[in-house]
């Protein structure tokens, strides 16, 4: 508590500073630390799926290789670039709000959110394709039937496991994209309202951190699921 005793007359207690914090720095650090701890929990949550994926892949590599050919690596790559780019714009949004450039922040945030929608759009195309081909998880998997043959070939029925994991992983990730986009939407709203300044840009920073996490998960998901069968 560096300036422990200056917390009384509300005069030098800025509006954005909650009553139980002494300094803006303390509040900023706490928020950021909190977000990092939260990121840790997200990593472990997604991690569970990655563990399941790697274990089943290790058990039946050839089935997984055959199954992963049914994903469209081009769409996957496109989505990778979209997310990487949105990560850049999110970082730039933080930068511009640090510099107090409100309009620029608005622009970067809007681009980031737009990227989220592009990503979900591409996902939609991919998903509807999979549904159509009977590439559904577990019990609903039908791509081993002759009517779903692809270039005259059908998948082994065991490939159901690959798609179970594919849908769980990308589905949960997609959900995070939506949550992240909504969080950024809220940040955007507060930015438009003029809440932020070079002294106070915590929500932008926190929102962007979360968005980078969404990107991080995809960075692992893309090569493991789309590229290495």
């Amino acid at each position: 508590m560096a300036s422990a005793h200056s917390d009384h007359g509300h005069g030098d207690h800025p509006k954005f500073l909650a009553h139980h914090f002494d300094t803006p720095e303390q509040q900023f650090d706490a928020a950021k630390f909190g977000m990092w701890v939260f990121i840790v929990t997200e990593i472990l949550m997604f991690g569970g799926l990655f563990v399941a994926y790697l274990i089943y892949k290790g058990q039946e590599p050839s089935v997984f290789i055959e199954a992963h050919r049914r994903l469209d690596w081009k769409l996957g790559s496109a989505n990778t670039i979209v997310l990487l780019f949105s990560s850049l714009t999110a970082a730039l949004a933080v930068r511009s709000s640090q510099l107090g450039k409100k309009n620029e922040t608005t622009m970067w945030l809007m681009i980031t959110i737009a990227c989220a929608f592009v990503f979900m759009g591409i996902k939609y195309v991919e998903y509807s394709h999979k549904f159509h081909d009977g590439l559904l998880p577990g019990r609903y998997f039908t791509a081993h039937l002759p009517e779903h043959a692809h270039n005259g070939q059908v998948l082994p029925q065991r490939a159901n496991m690959y798609f179970a994991l594919y849908f769980m992983m990308t589905g949960l990730h997609g959900l995070h994209v939506l949550i992240g986009a909504s969080a950024l939407g809220y940040v955007l709203y507060r930015n438009l309202r003029g809440d932020f300044s070079p002294e106070y840009f915590t929500p932008v920073e926190i929102g962007a951190l979360y968005w980078h996490l969404v990107d991080l998960v995809w960075i692992y998901l893309f090569p493991l699921v789309y590229l290495v069968g």
Partner: protein, 147 residues
Amino acid sequence: MSDHSHAHDDGKVHAHVSPFLFMVAIFGALVVLTVVTVAASRFDFGSANTLIAVLIATAKAALVATFFMHLKYDKGFHALIFVMSFVFLGVFLLITLEDVDTRGRVDNASTVRMHERRGEQAPGGFVLDPRGVQARERQPAGGGAHH
């Protein structure tokens, strides 16, 4: 707060502002690595495939974390807990893999899906859909280990 008060004593937020072009350069590097990983997947490195993919992904993740997420200019503790989360995940993965990989080593009829000697599949397991008979014939030899 005792652990941060030494850094600055004016209590204001002091965050590092990264140069614009630097950020764009990082993005460029990420795109290049994406191209590399796609290109690498065209070649078969055998069992190293997954490892290579994970290594490239880790390089990308490191770039995002260090520069976009400002870990480089942040408290060391944040980097520590970030890395620790991967360590704990590693423990989970490795010991679980250890189990799955070593089943049936001591007794080859134990915890395996197929009875070696009788060639009978364990009941209650994977049921082949009768409609997919043709599919089964097409299956590559390696993948059928558990059928």
